[in-house]
Subunit: 332 residues, 6 copies
Amino acid sequence: MTVSLATTTPLKSVRELPTGDSVQGFYLLTKIETRPKKSGEPFLIVELQDHSGKIEGKMWDNFSEALESLKPGDPVFVDARLDHYQKLPSLVLTSLRKATEIEVPDRRSFLPHSSLPATQANERLVRVIETINEPHLRALLDAIFDDLSFRRRFLETPGGKAWHHATVGGLVEHTLSMVTLADAICGHYPQLHRDLLICGTLLHDIGKVQELTVEPALDYTSEGRLLGHIAQGVLLVESKIRELDEFPGELRKQLLHIILSHQGEPTMGSPVKPMTLEALALHYLDELDSRVSAFEQIRARTPERQEFSDYQRLMDRFFYFRSPDEPDTGEE
Amino acid sequence: MTVSLATTTPLKSVRELPTGDSVQGFYLLTKIETRPKKSGEPFLIVELQDHSGKIEGKMWDNFSEALESLKPGDPVFVDARLDHYQKLPSLVLTSLRKATEIEVPDRRSFLPHSSLPATQANERLVRVIETINEPHLRALLDAIFDDLSFRRRFLETPGGKAWHHATVGGLVEHTLSMVTLADAICGHYPQLHRDLLICGTLLHDIGKVQELTVEPALDYTSEGRLLGHIAQGVLLVESKIRELDEFPGELRKQLLHIILSHQGEPTMGSPVKPMTLEALALHYLDELDSRVSAFEQIRARTPERQEFSDYQRLMDRFFYFRSPDEPDTGEE
Amino acid sequence: MTVSLATTTPLKSVRELPTGDSVQGFYLLTKIETRPKKSGEPFLIVELQDHSGKIEGKMWDNFSEALESLKPGDPVFVDARLDHYQKLPSLVLTSLRKATEIEVPDRRSFLPHSSLPATQANERLVRVIETINEPHLRALLDAIFDDLSFRRRFLETPGGKAWHHATVGGLVEHTLSMVTLADAICGHYPQLHRDLLICGTLLHDIGKVQELTVEPALDYTSEGRLLGHIAQGVLLVESKIRELDEFPGELRKQLLHIILSHQGEPTMGSPVKPMTLEALALHYLDELDSRVSAFEQIRARTPERQEFSDYQRLMDRFFYFRSPDEPDTGEE
Amino acid sequence: MTVSLATTTPLKSVRELPTGDSVQGFYLLTKIETRPKKSGEPFLIVELQDHSGKIEGKMWDNFSEALESLKPGDPVFVDARLDHYQKLPSLVLTSLRKATEIEVPDRRSFLPHSSLPATQANERLVRVIETINEPHLRALLDAIFDDLSFRRRFLETPGGKAWHHATVGGLVEHTLSMVTLADAICGHYPQLHRDLLICGTLLHDIGKVQELTVEPALDYTSEGRLLGHIAQGVLLVESKIRELDEFPGELRKQLLHIILSHQGEPTMGSPVKPMTLEALALHYLDELDSRVSAFEQIRARTPERQEFSDYQRLMDRFFYFRSPDEPDTGEE
Amino acid sequence: MTVSLATTTPLKSVRELPTGDSVQGFYLLTKIETRPKKSGEPFLIVELQDHSGKIEGKMWDNFSEALESLKPGDPVFVDARLDHYQKLPSLVLTSLRKATEIEVPDRRSFLPHSSLPATQANERLVRVIETINEPHLRALLDAIFDDLSFRRRFLETPGGKAWHHATVGGLVEHTLSMVTLADAICGHYPQLHRDLLICGTLLHDIGKVQELTVEPALDYTSEGRLLGHIAQGVLLVESKIRELDEFPGELRKQLLHIILSHQGEPTMGSPVKPMTLEALALHYLDELDSRVSAFEQIRARTPERQEFSDYQRLMDRFFYFRSPDEPDTGEE
Amino acid sequence: MTVSLATTTPLKSVRELPTGDSVQGFYLLTKIETRPKKSGEPFLIVELQDHSGKIEGKMWDNFSEALESLKPGDPVFVDARLDHYQKLPSLVLTSLRKATEIEVPDRRSFLPHSSLPATQANERLVRVIETINEPHLRALLDAIFDDLSFRRRFLETPGGKAWHHATVGGLVEHTLSMVTLADAICGHYPQLHRDLLICGTLLHDIGKVQELTVEPALDYTSEGRLLGHIAQGVLLVESKIRELDEFPGELRKQLLHIILSHQGEPTMGSPVKPMTLEALALHYLDELDSRVSAFEQIRARTPERQEFSDYQRLMDRFFYFRSPDEPDTGEE
């Protein structure tokens, strides 16, 4: 059987193979260095990654060409067999070479992806935009998302670097989740201007398309660090508004205000605080959805029998994972 | 026609009567003092209040008995006619006396009331409790709300002293509004434990029944100041839990945690931060609903042609009231 | 002699006239209301303002037409004589009427003005721009300031509402003062990119042209409150950059970064902190120049024999005004 | 000689034995893992602990059964001899096995203990309670401490996890130390209500009995993390008050207030600030006694010739240990 | 009977005289201004103060000479009779003139005084100094307090401007109160260096002698504002140390450290935090004693039937004054 | 050729020698320890430092005497040859011994030095002092800097421990840089008292002479930690002022105020905030010059192709190093 990217075993499955099984496939090289063997000779240590996880690999001999030609961030082809050391799986490599562009056309395949598939996200995005009745907001959304190259990037942008929705497609997943919440509260608080709130939701994090990159790895762009996604967002939206005919001044002011204020506080990066009802509401929905995502992401990383997460510096607390229905532990 | 409390014209309507109209009825006296007339003689100045608003009154003569016998907080009967000075309406009193207990059996009639009538609030409360399937939570809610005297007080407690839902019945209005939101997000985040979240919502502010009073005016009780509604709430819920058979330890821990952490931060009065998913979610719904209520309360107090509210110290911002659909003001 | 706006005595001089002197001229009406005379009859109290100060006025009779037709913000013609009550000067008016548009073509004449005349500021601005050698920055500055209507507004915008440079023309005065400082430190730190630093200085507060207004009084525009001058500034500069050919990406990024970060801290309104040398330097020059201006403005308001200013809430301190060369007060 | 827990040499003494001395006894295993020998073969590394300190141990051969059957937290029997490597003592083990429940009935023996023996603490506690004259406070203390199982746990609870009084018995040591201070200041400030202050002192940290555990190691219970010792404390005291006849409302309110406010500030975990004289006083005595304890604990951990402690993050400072009477170091 | 300062009735007693009683005596004039009578004529309003309180006075006629010659801060002689208006006592003056230096040699007589008489404070100070055994500390204290003019000023300096011990003699009262506390805890914590702690206590606020003045009123000196009592304190102590022979370096370092760090935190004015045991202990005793004093001072100002004090901004709380032994108010 | 300290090759150059080159010379030993060879035998690992950088060294045999006799901080003589392991240079030592006091009279030679030579700094210092016209300030500066031993220490004191100007001579370099800035702004703001500002600049960090030491390494003295350079500075200046005749009180007050307030905020170590114009100006110049120095120091430590520095905790940001003139990276 010929190995292709499509038939490569995900690393999550690789880690569960029995000792000695052979593994062939394409992965992302994320670390490469040498260490001394007990004999004093060097051996090669690498780290491999794909969308499903990571694994360590060792190569005992004949690695000088690989060491010369490869660097972290390179897609590689690997021929190896699974080994275990102190119960931890690792790969013993017999072959390691750079993959060609034909073999791996897109390194994004190796990043974790949102559970919401891009095509489905796209469809829901289209449908949401169609519900906007206010003609100027509708025209603005069309102007932004009808740019297919932009839309494709929007669909793959992460929601954040590390904290929440930190996956390819995380941004649109977060955005659509907030749209559902926004629709629910519009029913509850009829004084909310639904079209403005939904439009604001779709655009509140639009600057992240420029703030974050997934190439060569999920990180900030230098423009992202120097300007921040809030300023990038209003610059992008304003430039589209200027291309439209007669976008109403009041609507523009309130839409830009929503984007500028959505983090809620200056210390969180918003130069102004929410002053309109829609800006206030959007801010709390953003908090809610990003915290729920962060909670689940941390729960997924925490070993199952652990009641509490490790300490989470960003929220200055532990998270607690026991179900309210579980029996008491009898702890006093 | 005999005047009774029921037939008394609300002050909001009184303020819109034409100059010279006569006014008779029962109000709450909130201020009483004398000032010198131009002639040097004193005259009486009073402030009257009912659930709909306030008005100033003056009495030029024969007020010595009233001045002797009345004090702020007394319900009074008033015979007067409407006057205007620099366009502001006021009452010129010809008679002012204390109302009897038969005429005004309950001073609460003079306080602002939630727009949600108590009977309707009560029905919705009953229905919500019936949706709780988890038997221990259901038993706990029954134990708390089946105490009719407690339930009556719960139905009239304000949501706060000045900031949001500061009306008779404000607490239950706020609570039920959050229940609707909580139900909506349970659909969206299926991992939430709905019964715990709804039960937590119903009980999160339960300590306010003891923290706040509406007699003789909306204010903190001394126990409310010394303990705070969060501690009062957990003490109340815990005492009911102890009366129940075999309330599960894990459920108790998580329910008390929700009440303790619902303000979100120590600086807001919560000794612990939300660590469970339900506690996190409830906190943001509480923020959302209380801010929306505060926004509307401030909007109602702001003169209509004013774009911005006065500066709001508690939220360190102005609020903005123009509709997104209004035409631009042409301001640069 | 016919009285015109040009020959009207400034209020600062009026206040120093002897009792009984007659005063005729044009001023801005800033307050108008009635109070009861000792006889019980109402009299009129007004406040008048011009660029040099304020004075109170009273009108004992025949003011009903004035009271009907005038409101705060109207320019008025006044015929009066100076009076003193408990050593404070005030005007006793015999005539008060609205001034015509011919008599007072521009209410800005009544606001305090920067000590730097607009024509001189304009000349210095032109000369500074001519020193910029980097062609794209030069083209950008030309594109912005060659718009004569924009430049005229730039020349009259205040530097702030109340704190520093709160005068007509305060913004350009502050901007040019910082240019001088920036030039001085470029000599001292040769690693600074002079053209970027000077261009950043000219543009750092450019958003204040839209954030503040002097009509009808020095205040924030509603767009100013909702977006803030930092966001307004980058939107304005970006829109001009987009009109230019091939503005280099790196230069744009660093220029926008300077504008976004110039307040130094998120709590001061900057969504990003200064990360480049030019952004760092500009921030400290801005602090220095605005504090020196604030200090002098407060010194000017403080009675001469007072050693300390009143408490300054914004800087949480008193200012001290004695010269280091003055003899000791002998105070312990 | 048969080795028992009682005759086991404390590790503090073991560390001072000469190289080669043989060591046999019972300790707590706190770490167990393998490392490669120079030959490439693995050897075993363990960490052992008892109440007096820690030591590292190595086992070169025949450790596979130990590695299989033991985990951190197990009490073990050890046969070894003392070795030194770069002046640091360590044990070379020849035998390592799990201790039986008969050999080590209680792992608490391996934890550091307060210098105040439990029996002595108990006697002093009894005597303090006897000095309380106010009958309701006396009845409450009796109700709490006459529960012998509770009292035993109170006597062994630590004062904190890491910071101060972090020993078995640390809570009662801290409590009794504060009682002495409280008695001293009652003499100085006669307006203090002595019985309330002493009772508040005895109960202020009572929730730590439930917040902290010493099994399997000194740590927070999950209830401790979710509720905190302040809420746990008021719940415990309130439940005892409800069992008593006619506990006066005012006294209850003030006692609960003391417990709730004793940390002084919301950011320190107190939902309300001290508002009564007794609450204020108790807070400062608590600060004083816990800081003195922390200072001494850090002093004990700091090598003798070091003038300053390492940086103490929790108090954001270094501590300084030289005696004021020592001669100057001639520095500077 | 001739009226002298000594025989002047204290204002606290004056306020309780019956209407119409005549009052003659010497007081401090703290306010003087005119208001219009109902007839339009002006009358004089003054405020008088002595050590025991304040009272308002009115003078209906013949006050032009008084108005010309008097200013706030002047000691005056008053001839008046007591009146009541709306139950508030005030004086109706028939005569008002400046007091001579012979009549009122020292305006300090009109300020509130510590309840600890200066002679008694002086004796206790002497006795405390005698208990210091460490010869250098003893010599330092002698050098400072043997300067009689300095000691006299020390004995009359207030403990603060408004917050605690804000009376003539408040500093020494606070200092000696802390000495008693310090002695008590030296018994409890024998590791404390008693002589250093007592000496530090006597000197910790010594800079207040220069920071505060009671002439013409209790206020900061300009040096006090510019340097602060902490810097003034170390400058004073250091200058005395330099005059002594061979003051040991270690002792000097630790003593100056105590003075510099006694406020505990930079935000409270201490440039370094307490790092020695004596500095830590002194800081908490200072907090305790100043808060107890503030509590009592506020209690004294609060009307007796009020349960809570007014809101205290400096401590961000209310104080509660009911005795724990009072019966419950029946409030829920 | 005989090797002396003067002819020793700087380590920065040593690191660029070809493999195998022999190296002989004097360096500072900063680390010394053993590690096991592959054979199990120990070998010696050392770290050497001089003013230009660091290098690692290994010694395979015959190092027992060196290991016995040497400790970190010792100056050593080294005979070695350069080796490379994984491209990193290191030294293989054949000889290692302690240098004599004659060979290395001053370990400061091994510390990084300011790029401003001490003699040049001294000359500029002299010239600046000569420009002071105010006779008392001039006399004070003379009194301080004419003490040659003090001046020598001033010239070698670092500007800080780690953050900015952390080199021998860093303090005077920073001081003179600020003098240049101060002179520039005195031209711009003529209301500044130039002599006071320059004198304040020369003395603002004078306490660092006592706060920091370069022996045995750049660190705080214990007096520096306990008192801080701000208190040490005012103590030093005050003691010199006391030695002068008739130093004017006002000048002293304002000079000491400048030193006390120059850090700007209590949280930065200043017990009072700048209240005079000179104190304000000096504070911002200090911020500017120290941040520019820190920026350059971090830039020097950052690998050249890295756009951003590592995260800088002290300023809570990254620094960005690309030139504004560089072509865009094409990054989105």
